[in-house]
C-alpha cells in the first residue's frame, strides 16, 4: 500500500508531484540520516550545559525568591499528589456543569430535527491547552452522536488537530458500538488562515443549518461571527473557551457557555480520565490556598488599618511572603 504522502491534507490522494518527492527521499534513505541527525541534536543540546566557564551571575540562589519557591513547591506538589493518587484509583468528585448536561439534550434535538451537529475545537494548534480540552470534549460528543445516529461535522483549522480529532472520533464511535457509522469525511482540515476558516464555517452554517453548534477551544475575533451566524439560523449553541475577551460574545449569543477554567473541568468531567481529575483537584487546592491567604491578609490588613497599625509587622510579613522579587 502506498502511504499517503501527507496525511495533513483532507483529500489525501497521492499526486504525481508528491509521489516523486517521496520516492526521491526514500532513495536517498534520509530515514537513517535522520536518526543520526537526531542523536547529534541531543548531544549538541547537552553540550553547552557542560560549559561552566562563562562569567555570569555569581549567585547560586536568589534568596528573595525563596517565598516563590515554597509556593511553587506547594502548588505543584499538590497537583502531582492528586494526579498520582487519582491514577492509583482514588475517586474524585467534580461538580455538575450546566453546559455539559445540555450537550446530550442538544444532540438529541439534532436527531429529532434530522439535522447535523457542528463541532469546532477552536482555531489554535495542539500546543494550546484549550484545543486539547476541546478534543477531549469532542470524544464524548461523538459518543452521543453515534448512539443517536446523528450526523457530525468537525472542520478544523490546523492539520495536526484534524489528525488527532479523527482518531478521537473514530475511537468514540467504536466504543459506542457503531464503527460502521464512522467515516473520515466527518473531520476535515479547512485552512490555517483565521478568516478563511471562518468564511468556510459561516457558509456551512448558513447552507446546512445545523440544529446544534458546539464551540470548544481557543477562539479569537471569529467567536462573534460564529455565534451570530449560528444564532441567525436558530441553532442551539454551546460554547466553551478560556479566552476572556471572547467570553462576552459566547455568553450573550449562545445557550450555554463554559467559562474559563470550566472548559478544562468539563474535559476532565466528561473523560473521567484520572490524570485530569487529579490535577483538577490539585488546582482546587491552589484556589483554596489563594482564598485562605486573601482572607487572612484582608483580615490582618483591616485590623491593622482600623487600629492604627497594631498588626503592621504581621502585614509586612504576609506581603513579604507574596512579594514577587525582581531578579
Amino acid at each position: 500500500m502506498v502511504r499517503p504522502p501527507y496525511p495533513d491534507f483532507h483529500d489525501s490522494a497521492p499526486t504525481r508531484f508528491t509521489r516523486f518527492l517521496d520516492i526521491l527521499i526514500r532513495f536517498a534513505s534520509l530515514r537513517r540520516l535522520s536518526v543520526s541527525a537526531v542523536l547529534t541534536g541531543v548531544l549538541l543540546l547537552a553540550a553547552p550545559a557542560a560549559v561552566f566557564a562563562q562569567s555570569g551571575d555569581p549567585r547560586w540562589f536568589i534568596e528573595d525568591r525563596a517565598n516563590l519557591l515554597v509556593i511553587m513547591l506547594l502548588t505543584c506538589g499538590a497537583i502531582l499528589f492528586y494526579t498520582i493518587r487519582a491514577t492509583r484509583g482514588a475517586d474524585y468528585f467534580v461538580r455538575k456543569i450546566a453546559g455539559i448536561s445540555a450537550i446530550e439534550e442538544a444532540v438529541g434535538r439534532a436527531t429529532e430535527m434530522g439535522k447535523p451537529v457542528l463541532f469546532i475545537p477552536g482555531i489554535q494548534d495542539l500546543d494550546n491547552v484549550q484545543t486539547v480540552a476541546g478534543i477531549t470534549i469532542l470524544a464524548s460528543v461523538a459518543r452521543k452522536v453515534a448512539e443517536y445516529e446523528t450526523q457530525l461535522n468537525v472542520p478544523t483549522s490546523r492539520s495536526l488537530v484534524m489528525t488527532t480529532a479523527r482518531e478521537t472520533v473514530k475511537e468514540a464511535f467504536l466504543s459506542a458500538g457503531r464503527p460502521d457509522l464512522y467515516n473520515d469525511s466527518m473531520v476535515y482540515y479547512v485552512t490555517d488562515e483565521q478568516f478563511g476558516f471562518v468564511a468556510y464555517a459561516d457558509g456551512f452554517i448558513v447552507r446546512q443549518r445545523p440544529a446544534t453548534c458546539i464551540y470548544m477551544g481557543a477562539f479569537f475575533a471569529e467567536s462573534l461571527i460564529l455565534a451570530e451566524t449560528g444564532n441567525s439560523v436558530g441553532a442551539i449553541q454551546i460554547a466553551g473557551t478560556a479566552q476572556p475577551t471572547q467570553l462576552p460574545f459566547f455568553v450573550a449569543a449562545c445557550d450555554y457557555t463554559l467559562i474559563g477554567e470550566e472548559l478544562f473541568a468539563a474535559s476532565a468531567y466528561l473523560s473521567q480520565e484520572p490524570k485530569l481529575l487529579g490535577s483538577l483537584r490539585g488546582q482546587d487546592f491552589g484556589k483554596a490556598f489563594a482564598m485562605l491567604f486573601i482572607l487572612i491578609g484582608t483580615a490582618v490588613a483591616t485590623i491593622s488599618v482600623a487600629t492604627g497599625g497594631s498588626l503592621s509587622g504581621l502585614m509586612d510579613t504576609l506581603n513579604h511572603w507574596f512579594h514577587v522579587a525582581a531578579g
Binding site: A98, S101, E105, T245, Y256, A326
Partner: protein
C-alpha cells in the same frame, strides 16, 4: 403594535450594516469633534514621562499590525513626541513581525516632522523586529545586546553610542509597551517589568484593556485603552504643550464617529430588547438551568 415591534426583531441585517456605516461616515464628513478629558489611569503615564529627568532611557515598543493602527498608532506617536520633547532618549523596538512599518510611520510623522534635528543613534534608535515572542523579552532581560544584536538598519548595537549604557533590561528607566495582543503589554509586564523592576506603562486596543486592569496599579503604571485612551493622552499632551495641537490630535478627531456609533449600538441593544419582550420572552430551549 406588539406584533409590529416583534417583527422589528427580524430586521434584515444589511439594514443594520448600512446604519452603522452611516454612523461612522457622516461624522467623519462633518468633522465632528467632542472634548476629551484625561482620566487618572492615562494621566499617570503622562506624569511619569513628565517627571523623568532629561536623557533618561525609555524603551518604547510597537507590538501591533495594520489592523489596529487607528487605535495604537496615535498612542505610539503621542508618547514618542512627548519623550523626545522632554529630551529623553528613545529606544524603539518591536516583537511583532508587522511592527517595523509602524515604527517607520512614527518616524515619518513624529521625528521627521517635529524633531528633524534629532540624531539617530544618540537620541533615538530603531532596534527593529526580532522573532520569538516572549522569548525575546526573556533574553533581553538577561542580555539586551544578545536579544537585539543589530538595529533596524543592520548596525551592530555595540557601535551605537546610546546603547553603551544598556546592558540588561533593568538599565531602562521606563518601558512603554504599545500592543494589541499576544505577545504584548501583558508579556512585557510578566517577562520584562516584573523580573527587572522597571516600571511598565501600556497602551492597548480596547479589546485588551479589561484584561490588563488587574495589573494596575501594582505591576502596571498606567494604561491607555483603545482610541479613547489615545485621545486622553493626546489631550494631556496638547494641554501641556499647545504647540502640538496641529500634529497630535489624530485620536481626538476619530472620537467623533466613535461617539455616534456607540449611541447607535446602544439604540440597537435597546430596540432589540424591546422587540424581544414584545414578542414574549421565550423560555430557555433546553431543560437544564445554569
Amino acid at each position: 403594535m406588539a406584533s409590529g415591534l416583534a417583527k422589528l426583531g427580524n430586521l434584515d441585517r444589511r439594514i443594520i450594516y448600512l446604519l452603522i456605516a452611516l454612523a461612522v461616515v457622516i461624522p467623519l464628513l462633518l468633522k465632528l469633534v467632542f472634548p476629551s478629558i484625561t482620566t487618572p489611569i492615562v494621566q499617570n503615564i503622562f506624569d511619569e514621562v513628565e517627571a523623568l529627568p532629561p536623557r533618561s532611557k525609555v524603551l518604547l515598543t510597537a507590538d501591533y499590525g495594520p489592523s489596529t493602527v487607528p487605535e495604537n498608532q496615535p498612542m505610539l506617536e503621542a508618547v514618542a513626541r512627548h519623550c523626545l520633547h522632554k529630551g529623553l532618549r528613545l529606544y524603539v523596538a518591536t516583537i511583532w513581525a508587522t511592527g517595523p512599518p509602524m515604527i517607520e510611520n512614527m518616524s515619518e510623522n513624529v521625528i521627521q516632522r517635529d524633531f528633524p534635528d534629532i540624531v539617530q543613534g544618540t537620541e533615538w534608535v530603531n532596534l527593529g523586529y526580532k522573532a520569538g515572542n516572549q522569548g525575546v523579552i526573556n533574553s533581553a532581560y538577561s542580555d539586551f545586546h544578545n536579544a537585539f544584536p543589530t538595529d533596524a538598519r543592520g548596525n551592530a548595537v555595540g557601535s551605537i553610542p546610546m546603547m553603551a549604557e544598556i546592558k540588561r533590561l533593568e538599565d531602562f528607566d521606563l518601558i512603554v509597551a504599545i500592543g494589541s495582543g499576544f505577545p504584548g503589554v501583558k508579556e512585557w509586564i510578566q517577562f520584562g517589568g516584573d523580573p527587572s523592576g522597571v516600571p511598565v506603562a501600556g497602551g492597548v486596543t480596547a479589546v485588551e484593556a479589561p484584561l490588563l486592569y488587574p495589573y494596575y496599579p501594582g505591576q502596571l503604571l498606567g494604561l491607555m485603552g483603545g482610541l479613547q485612551g489615545a485621545a486622553e493622552y493626546e489631550a494631556a499632551l496638547v494641554t501641556a504643550y499647545p504647540q502640538f495641537e496641529e500634529t497630535s490630535t489624530q485620536a481626538i478627531q476619530n472620537m467623533g464617529p466613535q461617539t455616534v456609533a456607540h449611541l447607535l449600538i446602544i439604540t440597537f441593544i435597546l430596540v432589540g430588547n424591546i422587540a424581544y419582550f414584545a414578542a414574549g420572552r421565550e423560555k430557555p430551549r433546553l431543560g437544564v438551568n445554569r
